[in-house]
Amino acid sequence: MEFWNGRCLLVDLKEHKVEDLEVEGLISSVRGGYDAGNELMKEHSDGEPLVIGTGIYTASFFPSGCMGFVLWKRNGKNFCLPLNWFFPVEFKLTGFDFLVIKHSSPSPVRLWIRDGICDILPAENLMGKDVWETMDFLKDDHGDEKVQALIAGNNSLSQGYWGGFDSNGCGEEFRKKNLKAVCVRGMGSISISEESFKKMLKVPRGKEIELNLSDEMKKLIHRRNACFNCGLNCYPFFMIEDDPKILKESEKKEPGFISLDPVYLKDGNPKVAMEMLRKGSHPEGLKDDEIPSSFLKFAGVEASLVKECLNFGVCPLFFMKVLNGDKSHFNF
């Protein structure tokens, strides 16, 4: 199946059981990943599901094909946390397009997913650890620097070390399920036809965007980073424990940080921002937005367009800034 693995991982945390479901039919019947995710939410509604999903072009050659999402329900209301950076790509390359997590575990656990295999591992040893300590542990335990993870922090879900947009309770859902982290390493590939590949190469790639930062913060920038396959380079690395002008890698263990959600920097205090990222404490706390308002502000779009972009796995900021909102680029 082009662009997709056609597979969904179903994890029952109560029974500690893992199942591999075929979802080609589901994918073919909907517009894209977000819609498929919602269908999975309905199908597995008996288990208070969390659905982690990807879009059509996630992990493909389509520029900024980096997006994924988490879906859940709370008090009858639907919530969605957009995921960018690298987790959705790494997840899709494990051989699964979706992950449905049902029920809660009787004891703290973490998931370890790679090459079509999912292990439910104990996580008691992680319960006292902050996000950064947890991420360090996961990289060491699995013997690979390239693993990506979603980690339940103080009051939010963190994408690896660098936070994220969770101010609508996704981290809280993880905690309710006694789920400390979902860790992935994708070593597979996605099937893409030569014709699609050639079309994707013609999609405009954009260029580095202007950053909306104070002069003081700009002085701390060591380098610019981007999500998977994106040319906008939205994310500076702020070097606060070493000289931002050094060309080589810092020898300090924690020289600085990236913040996936610019709202961490709203008070202009980088040390405070770094501590919040370490602990997994989103500055906006817990709100009741269907999609976090800080993400809508970051992308500069309405919620409906976010959902459409999540169908395709493409960043909405890229979609507006580079593709000018032209959906014809999605026709393959």
Binding site: R114, D115, I117, G143, D144, M187
Partner: protein, 423 residues
């Protein structure tokens, strides 16, 4: 149509013919003067003691072009040799190859070639069968051709000292260059035309002129931007250009094809075309077998269990992560580096998603046990890991791979011998 396209089309099930007087390929036999139909021959690949990782290049290349009746075997399994039509012995430690194969292996190889089999020797596999007085190599004195990269005194080494030479009694076998070189083919069968082809050399022989039943099929021509000089360039210029790089030596009904460069390396497709031409040309000359050996029909169709996939997956990640580690270990005459380890693990990793392979329960158990041994060593590997441990790691990986690849390339289960497999 070139030989690469011909093989790809044969892989897709089309009938493909070679003109054995002109060396051209077509799906239309009537378009050729003396057509011979191509088929997939059985190829035994030696993977035992002394074999490094380059035999996996041959597996990848043969599989890519549809020559997938492949059977890897170890030094304890030389009894399988008569079952093959082609025997591929790749790079590694020549002395260890000889020691592993031993007298029994030598006799089997000699009988195999005399009775019409084709021996393909690359790098150490080529050195193995050249004349020498040194035991145990002297068990394999089949091809009376000497090497030209032999010096009584060692010139100053410019780079990569551990790969630049091997001691041989009081003299030295030197390797003046590594990586890409250009070789020029001879305008007669099996290559049929004169052309310059790039191919990689990693310590393989530079031959002297064969006499008698020998022919030079290709000569070293020149160097490229990618060529790495391990000695002064003038030494490389003296030793290689003009000297034989690929030779044929006929014995009985069969032949030895020996190459200094690795024609089987998957990143050099034009070098691969030379290897495929040798195979295609000899298929036509071989007596047709009535049936495929039953070694290709065994086991029951099963999916690799999660326990094995888990081991391979976790090992693959670890193997990739140590690829940049600054270390090397000397095992016999061969130096292994961390970047060699992922080559072995990847060979299973990229194939383990195949839905069904024909395998026996006991074989699954051997694979799993071997992988457990490998994983335990790999999890603790560091620059200070003793050579014996690294040797045990490579050995257990090869054991797992040998059994896995046999199952992967099998044609069917017990009793499923199909005459349609042979034309």
């Amino acid at each position: 149509m070139d030989v690469l396209s011909a093989m790809m089309r044969m892989r897709e099930g089309e009938r493909v013919f070679m003109d054995e007087t002109l060396g051209i390929f077509s799906t239309d036999a009537d378009a050729l003067q003396s057509p011979v139909e191509l088929r997939i021959p059985s190829i035994g690949i030696y993977t035992g003691k002394g074999a490094s990782h380059s035999w996996l290049w041959a597996v990848d290349t043969f599989e890519k072009y549809g020559l997938d009746l492949i059977f890897p075997f170890s030094e304890k399994e030389v009894n399988f040799i008569p079952h093959f039509e082609f025997l591929f012995v790749a790079g590694g430690d020549t002395f260890a190859l000889a020691d592993g194969l031993g007298k029994d292996g030598a006799e089997k190889i000699k009988k195999f070639v005399k009775e019409g089999g084709i021996y393909l020797g690359s790098c150490a596999g080529a050195y193995l069968v050249l004349y020498t007085s040194r035991a145990p190599l002297n068990l394999f004195n089949f091809v009376p051709v000497q090497i030209a990269n032999f010096e009584r005194e060692l010139p100053p080494v410019r780079a990569m000292r551990e790969k630049a030479f091997n001691r041989y009694a009081c003299c030295f076998i030197i390797h003046p260059v590594r990586d890409e070189v250009l070789i020029e083919t001879s305008p007669f069968p099996p290559f049929f035309s004169k052309e310059k082809i790039s191919a990689p050399i990693f310590g393989g022989p530079v031959f002297k002129e064969p006499e008698g039943r020998g022919r030079v099929l290709a000569r070293f021509s020149s160097f490229t931007e990618r060529t790495v000089f391990l000695f002064d360039r003038e030494i490389a210029e003296r030793v290689l250009p003009g000297k034989p790089a690929v030779i044929e030596w006929r014995m009985g009904d069969g032949a030895f094809y020996l190459f200094g460069p690795h024609l089987e390396h998957p990143s050099f497709k034009f070098a691969n075309s030379l290897l495929l031409k040798i195979i295609a040309y000899n298929i036509g000359k071989m007596r047709k077998r009535n049936s495929l050996s039953d070694i290709f029909f065994k086991g029951v169709p099963l999916k690799l269990p999660d326990s094995i996939r888990r081991l391979v997956s976790d090992m693959f990640m670890k193997a990739i992560s140590i690829g940049d580690m600054k270390a090397f270990w000397r095992i016999g005459e061969k130096y292994y580096m961390p970047e060699h380890i992922p080559v072995f693990v990847r060979a299973i990793h990229k194939r383990m998603f195949k839905k069904r392979i024909f395998i026996e329960k006991e074989e699954m158990e051997i694979i799993e046990e071997s992988l457990k041994v490998s994983k335990e060593i790999l999890s603790e590997i560091s620059p200070s890991t003793p050579e014996e441990k690294v040797e045990a790691l490579i050995s257990s990986l090869k054991d797992a791979l040998r059994i896995f690849l046999r199952a992967y390339f099998r044609r069917g289960e017990y009793g499923a011998l199909k005459l349609s497999q042979v034309s």
